[in-house]
């Protein structure tokens, strides 16, 4: 603080409080909506204060879902989302850390080519190659399976770059010492590099878990069988029916359940989240 200006301090807090309220308000309304009965939405304005049906609504969505909207119970979609997010996060980290290891600690023909091939994936988001990618997955018979949901998303340029960057900062002496002591490449990787990368792995995991959880377009393309719906794509089906029938309370209960896991991850692992976010963008 350069100088003390009480008026400016009050203004600062005021701006922040207004900011926090605006950011949180849509979620507050969604939560309120999820605590009411269906009749609360039949007339005029959506309610502003909590209602008495919270447990009932959440229980119904978790166990039986809204069958008229063609979506399975929320617990099943939550499990699918968890499987998808965990597989993507762990898979990306696993294949990226070993490719970064190969690129940094070995010299071999086509090393540069391999590096550029990984780099190019940055420039090809799913959104710009929807149909041919769908075709590949369909030809491989991976529609409606966990493999189809996860494997095509597992390649990661950002994770590979992060690990490469980190490996380059590790002193050469460490590897020389390990070699003198007779450690081979795999032993060096397992006993020295992996433990050193622990914080990076954790930070990356937070970011990638969220990345996997919020995927929407990909599950929408590859799943037609409701057993493989993820919560994020299932929500769309629920919401599409809400305009016709006023099931807002149930839809918003599902929305709250879809947001909860990744938001909790961010709130409880904020330090790792910030580290992961800032470092993957370098």
């Amino acid at each position: 603080m350069v100088e003390n200006r009480p008026l400016l301090n009050i203004l600062t807090h005021l701006v922040l409080i207004v900011g926090v309220v605006i950011v949180a308000f849509p979620v507050y309304l969604a939560f309120i909506a999820s605590t009411h009965g269906a009749d609360a939405f039949a007339r005029g304005l959506a309610p502003m204060l909590p209602g008495p049906h919270m447990i009932e609504n959440y229980h119904r969505m978790l166990t039986s879902g809204l069958s008229s909207a063609g979506a399975p119970p929320v617990w099943l979609m939550l499990i699918n989302s968890t499987i998808m997010a965990l597989t993507i996060a762990i898979g990306k980290i696993a294949i990226s850390i070993i490719s970064a290891y190969a690129i940094v600690y070995f010299k071999f023909p086509f090393r540069l080519l391999a590096f550029w091939m990984i780099f190019i994936t940055l420039m090809l988001p799913v959104e710009v190659r929807i149909i041919p990618t769908f075709k590949v997955v369909a030809d491989l018979g991976m529609l409606n399976s966990y493999a189809g949901l996860t494997i095509p998303l597992i390649a990661s340029a950002t994770a590979t770059f992060l690990f490469r960057q980190f490996f380059l900062t590790i002193p050469d002496e460490l590897m020389e010492a390990a070699r003198v002591d007779g450690a081979g490449p795999l032993k060096f990787f397992r006993d020295i590099l992996l433990p050193l990368s622990r914080t990076n792995i954790a930070a990356l995991f937070v970011i990638l878990f969220i990345y996997g959880w919020v995927q929407y377009l990909w599950p929408l393309l590859v799943t037609t069988d409701s057993r493989y719906y993820t919560i994020v794509m299932g929500i769309k089906r629920l919401a599409a029916s809400a305009d016709a029938d006023p099931y807002w309370n149930l839809v918003m209960a599902a929305v709250m359940l879809a947001m909860l896991p990744p938001v909790l991850v961010i709130i409880f692992m904020q330090r790792l989240f910030v580290k992961g976010l800032v470092e993957t963008e370098k």
Binding site: F25, L29, L45, R111, R129, I131, L277
Partner: protein, 294 residues
């Protein structure tokens, strides 16, 4: 490219280590991208029996199509709107948090969580607030004599998707602005204060110019986000409507190819989008190299 001073001598191991990443990249990235390029030069007959090579016809037809040019213009409006709104709000909040000592952390926690909300969920949250029958915002707007209806009015729909997309992106921009603000040297700000510059003058003449690398970086990232990561927001709220008024380039690829089954045109659109991502990525990476020396 950089390696270690000493390296492991193994000949085959590095290929084995790279194999999983490269196999997935080839099968699910490079091959489909190649297919998109190939079929952007082809026309399939209605029954899918024959494909004919037609050079650039898919492209020329796109650029003659007013609907495509409109979608491009709409994407630009959308991207500029989202970038300006979310970066402006984030900068204001970041400057405020940076002024505080202890309570800044508390506010940060309350501001960063929307990052974890899926785009489609963000869309639905705002869709609910703006719902013409029961939403709070149309209710308030009516007091001012404005009848909000994003189901009919294209401008309303565009404003809705811009707000929803910006809301989700504020937390990201906020964190990068806070990091940028913390790296502004305290001594410069103090020197300016001694020379009698007030807080606003200090911000505009010292802090903001020093933030320009962060601002530029975030601009590229935000344009990229608005162009490619907002599919869910649009699909969750307006589905490109009403009458195509929120049909952005990415949404159009999906709508034309997956719903409309016009493979040639959709592939040509994909290829154009790839070029846009490539340009954005190159700009971003060329600049990042320099950011370190700033």
């Amino acid at each position: 490219m950089q390696t270690k001073r000493t390296i492991f001598p193994n000949k085959l191991l590095p290929y084995a280590l790279l194999a999983p990443q490269l196999i997935i990249t080839i099968i699910f990235f490079l091959w489909p991208a190649g297919q998109a390029v190939k079929s952007s030069f082809e026309r399939e007959d209605p029954f899918g029996f024959r494909t004919t090579f037609i050079w650039f016809q898919n492209y020329t037809r796109l650029f003659d199509d007013p609907e495509y040019l409109n979608a491009a213009a709409r994407s630009a409006v959308f991207a500029v709107g989202v970038t300006a709104l979310s970066m402006g709000a984030a900068l204001l909040l970041a400057v405020c948090v940076n002024r505080l000592l202890r309570s800044g952390k508390f506010y940060t926690t309350l501001l960063v969580w929307p990052y974890a909300v899926a785009p489609v969920v963000a869309g639905i949250l705002w869709w609910f607030m703006f719902n013409p029958t029961i939403g709070i915002v149309p209710y308030l707007l009516e007091a001012f004599g404005y009848r909000w209806n994003h189901r009919v009015n294209g401008n309303d729909a565009m404003i809705l998707v811009i707000i929803a997309a910006s809301w989700k992106q504020i937390s990201y921009n906020f964190l990068f602005f806070v990091a940028g603000l913390q790296s502004v040297p305290k001594s410069l700000v103090e020197a300016a204060a001694m020379d009698g510059a007030g807080p606003f003058k200090r911000f505009w003449t010292i802090v903001f110019p020093l933030l320009s690398p962060t601002t530029f970086f975030l601009m590229i990232v935000n344009i990229n986000y608005a162009m490619f990561d907002t599919f869910g927001i649009i699909d969750g709220t307006t589905s490109g409507g009403p009458a195509g008024s929120t049909n952005t380039l990415v949404y159009k690829v999906y709508a034309d190819g997956f719903l409309g089954l016009n493979i040639g045109s959709s592939s040509a659109q994909s290829v154009i989008l790839m070029l846009i991502v490539i340009i954005l990525t190159v700009v971003q990476f060329r600049w990042v190299e320099r950011r370190v020396q700033y």
